[in-house]
Amino acid sequence: MIVQDAKGSRHATTTSRPDFQIIAKTLDQAKHEELAMELTINDTSYEVQSDGETPLLWVIRDELGLTGTKFGCGLAQCGACSVLVDGVVTRSCVTPLASVVGGRITTIEAIEEDEIGKRVVEAWVDHQVPQCGYCQSGQVMAATSLLKENANPNDDEIAAAMTNLCRCGTYNAISAAIRDLAGETKEG
């Protein structure tokens, strides 16, 4: 007989932790509570039923039905789940729902409502960036966040900000698209 606690096994084999900060605001209050929480996504308010520990990703996908944000790893490794929280790129697969109540969340579905996001999408089309496309929602969110923070990133800044994984290897097209946008800003 072998007894395995799957969770224990995960901890044994998967050691690294997310390398970015989780915004923790009201986590303690909302923990385990099945209270309706109000969430602002794409400028619309939603009352959501998921408990406060549920990762934002699954609230967005399963409860609200916004499936443009993708599940890839659940460990903040790949970035397919990237959304903007108050304009800053955030990996929603490890972001508890309770920590973003009161924040302003933007998902890929509303990216073209954002002036910078719209330009990122156009650059993605111009450079024919996506292949399978599965990581690209997250890539577009990460690029939008970068350009919001730094309108004119140099190559090192692009490399430092764009860390989402792409198994199709569209990395060169992604950086070319962002370089174009940075150039635009320079001229404008």
Partner: protein, 750 residues
């Protein structure tokens, strides 16, 4: 802007949904807001009309094409889109002969059906082997031409003029004499009711008249994929659906026994039910996160019945990849011959200058970003609708029917676009979630979506084979290879999936060791079959993904031993082979001339370049890589790669595919290795199984040589030459011979 009203509208209300990835403008016309699930009621996918008996696959026009009143063209593709650009290529090819702009096409993967087996025997229809375009090019052109002919016939009746007076412009029929024009959309209703003409009655265009084939036409799916609108299997939702997560047995062959805390888990938030499956346990819940959290909490007593002596694989508790590698390296025997020329054995026996080495390939994960999922729904009429990522709808349909215990005709297979595949989504024993989804949907009496977490995926992902390859070669007095003996101890993916034939070599185990064009007069290439405990799969470029590394790296070793420059050696071995000599020179020119190094780069690093070639899937490639060492680890700066696929459909997509294949080849060479200890994989996610990161991506420079030879593949051929180009550069730069991957497991000084 999204609101809940639109979300509801996006939900499925229809009893017969078809999952469709549409382009933006169609979404707009359908009134469905971006982000809502795109599921349409769909017109009959196959063919209520124009039924003609005995038509060859790929000729029944209405089974493939629907031209709408707004002149958009819905095309059901025999091949699935997973990033390789096939939907766009199909629109170019069909559009060329139909005389319709590829940009007007909405392409989806066709359902299972005889009409779509356009590849002929033995494959019928698979998306794989870099075969889609080259296997169907003529059939799909003819299909477009037949459709155009039907539109012309309909226009002749409508305008009451002889067909001979009509011509077409993109999207419309033109009667020049009267100046009248009728759009395809207006004619389609009538045209699609006409019998399909004899396929031999239509004439195809001459190459010099092509408007779209051979041009860098923009991909059809790029905007949807940049805005989150593209719908993958994991996104599919049907009415009344429950979600399921699984915990697989830690080793293949174990079965679930008592669950110690089943009652507690049943009481967890959102849990619907707890289930025991074949080699797994599952929790069904209203939401997937609740199912996942609950299933991971289950304390299962797994029982180990030992190997059952069946076809099913069994993973012993003491299995390790390190020990298996040793076993392969020392497996006795000379193997079964896959390719033989001259008399390698006696030349080697008499030779004075013999080079001998053992090379290794490693197990690899597909690591496609979209985790496997399946939605299963039993309908009141006894049919089963099933949505799942797959590369072979008819094969899946047959197996799903077996698993569900119903006729194949009652299984409606929906094949959404793939979030990466690289060989992952063929039928593999133990490696597809559909049997779980079918059982759970039946048990709970509601539709169920199973999603495998990344951890469960890496536990069941079948892998690219490991091989230990014993190389022996002799050099003549000029340092040229005279004899080559290669024995590969390996289980090939085809024999792993479809069964081993003891009388035959699995060609997919040795491709890339065999079929090399180099003029080495005495050769013996053989395979020793060693069955794996792990499951084995096709992985982008299959046997070539490892074998061209093994061969081309050893070839550099021979060049060094014979004191001949590796480019010079290849040129000499290809003497008289115009096509490959041209290709090799092409990549050298692309890189600014051969410069092996080591040399000092402007940034102060010491660098070297390596070169390699491969001839996979009917195409030929040559690659040069430039590397340096940083803190003991290899950095790949640039890859120059030239490909000769004979003739081409879309040079922009070829450029993207070479970039993509170079990325995966670099990832394999630098980073990837699936390690098992005590019967279990040590990495269950990307943290411990790293794949290429953006900051590790080399610049890629692509050259295309269109020799006009028979058309070859595109999706995979770019990969195999890349790992050996990298390792050959590293061997030269460091003086340390690289005979295995990944390079991250080795340390270098430079």
């Amino acid at each position: 802007m999204l609101d809940t009203k639109n979300l509801e509208r996006g939900d499925l209300a229809s009893p017969t949904p078809t999952n469709i990835s549409r382009r933006g403008f169609l979404l707009a016309t359908a009134g469905v807001t971006a982000g809502a699930l795109v599921l349409s009621v769909g017109l009959p996918a196959a063919p209520a009309r124009a039924q003609q008996a005995g038509m060859a696959p790929g000729t029944r026009v209405p089974a493939f094409l629907e031209i709408r009143p707004d002149n958009t063209i819905r095309f059901l593709s025999p091949f699935n889109e997973g990033g390789q650009g096939i939907f766009t290529a199909m629109a170019q090819i069909v559009g060329e002969e139909l005389d319709a702009d590829p940009a007007a096409f909405l392409v989806e993967n066709a359902p299972a059906g005889e009409d779509y087996k356009v590849m002929g025997a033995p494959f019928g229809r698979v998306t794989g082997g870099s075969m889609s375009v080259r296997s169907s090019f003529d059939v799909m052109r003819r299909l477009g031409a037949l459709a155009r002919q039907m539109l012309l016939q309909a226009a002749a009746s409508r305008l009451e003029v002889p067909l001979g007076e009509l011509a077409t412009e993109p999207g419309q029929v033109v009667h020049a004499a009267s100046g009248r024009k009728v759009s395809y959309g207006d004619l389609s209703e009538t045209a699609m009711d006409l019998p399909v003409p004899d396929p031999d009655s239509v004439t195809l265009k001459k190459q010099e008249d092509f408007s779209w084939i051979g041009k860098p036409v923009a991909r059809l799916d790029v905007r949807d994929k940049s805005t989150g609108r593209a719908v993958y299997a994991i996104d599919v939702k049907v009415d009344g659906m429950l979600h399921a997560a699984v915990q697989h047995a830690p080793r293949l062959g174990l079965t679930a026994g008592h669950i110690r805390n089943e009652d507690t888990v049943r009481g967890m938030t959102g849990v619907h039910s707890v289930h025991t499956l074949d080699g797994a346990v599952a929790v069904v819940a209203e939401r997937w996160w609740n199912a996942k959290r609950a299933v991971e909490a289950l304390q299962v007593e797994w029982s180990d019945p030992g190997a059952q002596g069946t076809d099913k694989r069994y993973m012993p508790a003491d299995f390790s990849t390190a020990a298996f590698r040793e076993r392969l390296a020392n497996e006795p025997g000379e193997g079964k011959v896959a390719e033989e020329e001259g008399d390698a054995a006696s030349v080697l026996q008499k030779a004075e200058n013999v080079v001998e080495a053992t090379y290794f390939s490693q197990f690899l994960h597909h690591a496609q970003l979209e985790p496997p999922s399946t939605v299963a729904r039993f309908n009141d009429d006894g049919t089963l609708d099933i949505w799942l990522p797959n590369q072979a709808p008819e094969q899946f349909q047959a197996n799903i029917a077996k698993v569900a215990g119903i006729e194949a005709a009652k299984v409606n297979v929906h094949s959404p676009i793939l979030g990466g595949f690289f060989g992952r989504h063929f039928l593999y024993p133990e490696a597809n979630p559909y049997p779980q989804a079918i059982k759970l949907a039946r048990d709970v009496g509601r539709p169920v979506k199973v999603i495998w977490s990344r951890e469960e995926e890496f536990l069941r992902d079948p892998m690219r084979p490991m091989a230990a390859v014993r190389m022996r070669a002799s050099l003549d007095e000029q340092g040229m290879p005279q004899a080559l003996d290669i024995v590969s101890a390996c289980e090939g993916p085809t024999e792993a999936v479809f069964g081993h034939n003891p009388d035959k070599v699995d060609p997919t185990a040795v491709e890339g060791l065999t079929g090399k064009a180099y003029a080495i007069p005495n050769r013996r290439i053989s395979q020793i079959y060693v069955k794996n405990h792990t499951t084995i799969a096709y992985w982008r470029s299959v046997g070539n993904s490892m074998n061209d590394f093994l061969y081309e790296a050893f070839l550099d070793e021979l060049a060094d031993k014979g004191n001949i420059d590796p480019l010079e050696l290849r040129m000499r071995l290809l003497k008289g082979n115009q096509r490959l000599s041209t290709l090799l020179q092409h990549v050298v020119d692309l890189s600014g001339g051969w410069k092996r190094g080591p040399f000092d780069a402007e940034d102060g690093t010491k660098r070297a370049r390596g070169i390699a070639m491969a001839s996979p899937f009917g195409s030929h490639t040559a690659a040069i890589a430039e590397v340096s060492i940083r803190e003991g680890q290899v950095v790949v700066h640039d890859i120059w790669e030239s490909i000769d696929p004979g003739s081409i459909v879309n040079p922009a997509i070829i450029g993207a595919q070479i970039n993509s294949a170079a990325a995966l080849g670099t990832s394999q060479a630098l980073l990837e290795d699936t390690v098992y200890e005590k019967g279990e994989p040590q990495a269950r996610n990307y943290d411990l199984y790293p794949i290429l990161r953006p900051d590790q991506m080399p610049r890629v420079h692509v050259g295309i040589v269109e020799s006009g030879e028979k058309m070859g593949g595109i999706g995979e051929p770019g990969l195999p030459a890349v790992p050996p180009a990298i390792t050959n550069a590293v061997s030269h730069l460091t003086g340390k011979r690289v005979r295995s991957m990944p390079l991250s497991k080795l340390t270098f000084d430079a």
